[in-house]
């Protein structure tokens, strides 16, 4: 299993599209925005924009990594016959999806950590040890619902439809979840939708931690609920996709 995980991670890190959209994009936008607005402060919490942007762009990179490393590759493997090649080896079926989920989590790390590193190095962002210890694991494990969503898309669609659906899902969740600009700037009807999305809960947990507050239990519970619901959908879709008729 560790070898399978290594192979999965390796192939995505060699994929140019993945590197550009998932690793380079959030890093570049962080550097751009932090240079423009980094020194402004948020009135309600007194947090510097450079810190809030670190969470937003880190969250975007992590969300993009977890969807992009799952949906399209998995749809392609099912369609191209690679899945069948794996099914005639002793590899158990459940391990395929388990490794897909774990490799998505591993692939979240470069995007997330590079944005954090850029924040520390270029904007001199500093948090307490306790804040770092809460922020990084929360933003890492918090991507589980998105990886599950990606796997469900990969199980339910063909490669040529998985691509646009994954893109729309990824940018939709990022935009409406307030990762690119604050949710408060949206019309009120849109705000209601935005606040119901897992990406909003996910980023909120990060924003609360860097503001020095404990994330509200409602956000944590909502994100956990999404993880269970989307995880269930992913398992159901996976079974449906790999059923042997």
């Amino acid at each position: 299993m560790p070898h399978y995980l290594k192979i999965e991670a390796l192939r995505m890190l060699r994929n140019k599209r993945f590197i550009i959209f998932v690793v380079a994009f959030p890093l570049a936008f962080y550097l751009l925005y932090a240079n423009l607005y980094g020194d402004q402060t948020d009135q309600s919490t007194g947090t510097r924009a450079a810190v809030i942007l670190m969470v937003s762009m880190g969250a975007y990179g992590a969300l993009a990594a977890s969807i992009m490393s799952t949906a399209v590759p998995w749809a392609q493997e099912r369609h191209s016959g690679w899945l069948r090649q794996l099914q005639i080896t002793p590899l158990p079926n459940w391990m395929i999806i388990a490794v897909k989920l774990l490799s998505a989590l591993v692939l979240v790390l470069p995007a997330l950590l590079l944005v954090v590193l850029a924040a520390v190095l270029t904007q001199h962002v500093s948090l307490s040890a306790g804040q770092w210890a809460a922020l990084i694991p929360a933003m890492w494990v918090g991507t589980i619902p998105f990886a599950a969503l990606g796997l469900a898309i990969g199980s339910l669609t063909r490669p040529d439809t998985a691509q646009p659906i994954a893109m729309i899902g990824m940018f939709g969740l990022a935009l409406l979840g307030g990762l690119w600009f604050p949710v408060d700037m949206l019309p009120s009807a849109m705000q209601t939708i935005a606040r119901a999305l897992p990406s909003y809960d996910y980023a909120s947990i990060g924003w609360e931690i860097v503001a020095g507050r404990t994330p509200p239990g409602s956000s944590v519970a909502a994100l956990a609920g999404w993880a269970v619901a989307l995880g269930g959908l992913a398992v159901f879709a996976y079974r449906r996709a790999t059923v042997r008729a």
Binding site: H3, Y4, I7, L10, R11, M12, R14, N15, E77, S80, G81, W82, R84, Q85, Q87, I88, T89, P90, L91, P92, R244, A245
Partner: protein
């Protein structure tokens, strides 16, 4: 114990009956060709042996176990009709990944050597030619040193030279006491590379034996001569003869033994025989005779 056994196996896809009551067994250590035209049920049969498809009725056993258990135990390796590789991985990474999934695989250097991939080991899968990719897929099939190797039309995308090398490699693998089952619609491949040919058509076994037996059973050889107005009685009683046709004074005797038929024709009859010709059948004729839909 049989390497493979199918008993009363049927598979239908809705209204379409792909496999219609297949019974066959295969001893270990043999190389068997599954020969049939497109749509005969070859791939469906293979997919059922590999556990990729469930039979509608009947029982499939691989080394006495269900196909799923045999696959889980690492007894089976296969090259399926379709199957692309992971483009971002190198040949070595792909082959090593698959061999590590098996309990008792071939050593990596040996595997690369016998499949002729040593020089391509560091190349990424998306930079391989079609023939090279097929070699990698063959390497994936034998990586785990499986007791049963299944090949579904393995040479379909290969040029002549790749084909020749491929069959050499396959025979070398089979020579170590492994069981090989390959599907093909190329007659000469079945003839040259197997010790038993199972011909299937419309989801049923229509012939089973060595290539030579199948040619003979199909009555493909014939003796033809000018008979003129002489009586044709008792020609059908000559040794080996399975059928007689007479057309405009020319007699054609279908026979399973041309030597015996010709000898008897001269020694045991008093006929005046002229312009005698012997037609040897090839497997192609036998195959066409066997797989032609019967007219109801």
């Amino acid at each position: 114990m049989n390497a493979i056994s199918l008993a009363g196996v049927r598979k239908s896809y809705g209204e379409v009956l792909a496999v219609d009551g297949l019974d066959l067994t295969m001893e270990p250590g043999r190389t068997v060709a599954l020969l049939g035209p497109n749509g005969a049920g070859k791939s469906t049969t293979i997919n059922m042996l590999l556990g990729l498809t469930r039979p509608t009725a009947g029982e499939v056993r691989v080394f006495g176990r269900t196909p799923d258990d045999a696959v889980a135990a690492g007894d089976v390796g296969a090259m399926l009709q379709e199957g692309t590789l992971i483009p971002e991985l190198t040949v070595r990474e792909l082959v090593d990944f698959v061999r590590r999934l098996y309990p008792d695989p071939l050593p990596l250097t040996e595997l690369l050597r016998v499949t002729g991939l040593t020089d391509l080991a560091s190349r990424r899968a998306d930079r391989l030619s079609g023939g090279q990719a097929q070699r990698v897929r063959f390497a994936l099939a034998i990586a785990g040193s499986p007791r049963l190797l299944v090949l579904d039309e393995p040479t379909a995308a290969m040029d002549v030279e790749s084909r020749r090398t491929f069959w050499q490699d396959m025979r070398a693998y089979a020579a170590e006491g492994r069981t090989v089952l390959f599907a093909t619609h190329y007659l000469e491949e079945a003839d040259e590379n197997s010790d038993r040919v199972i011909v299937i058509a419309r989801g049923q076994v229509v012939a089973d034996g060595t290539a030579a037996q199948i040619k003979a059973d199909a009555g493909g050889t014939s003796v033809e001569f000018f008979l003129g107005a002489q009586p044709a009685a008792r020609l059908d009683a000559l040794p080996g003869v399975t059928g007689v046709t007479i057309l405009s004074g020319r007699a054609t005797l279908r026979t399973t033994d041309t030597d015996a038929t010709v000898a008897a024709l001269y020694r045991a009859t008093t006929l005046e025989i002229s312009d005698l010709r012997i037609h040897g059948a090839d497997l192609e004729d036998a195959f066409l005779a066997l797989t032609r839909p019967s007219e109801a």
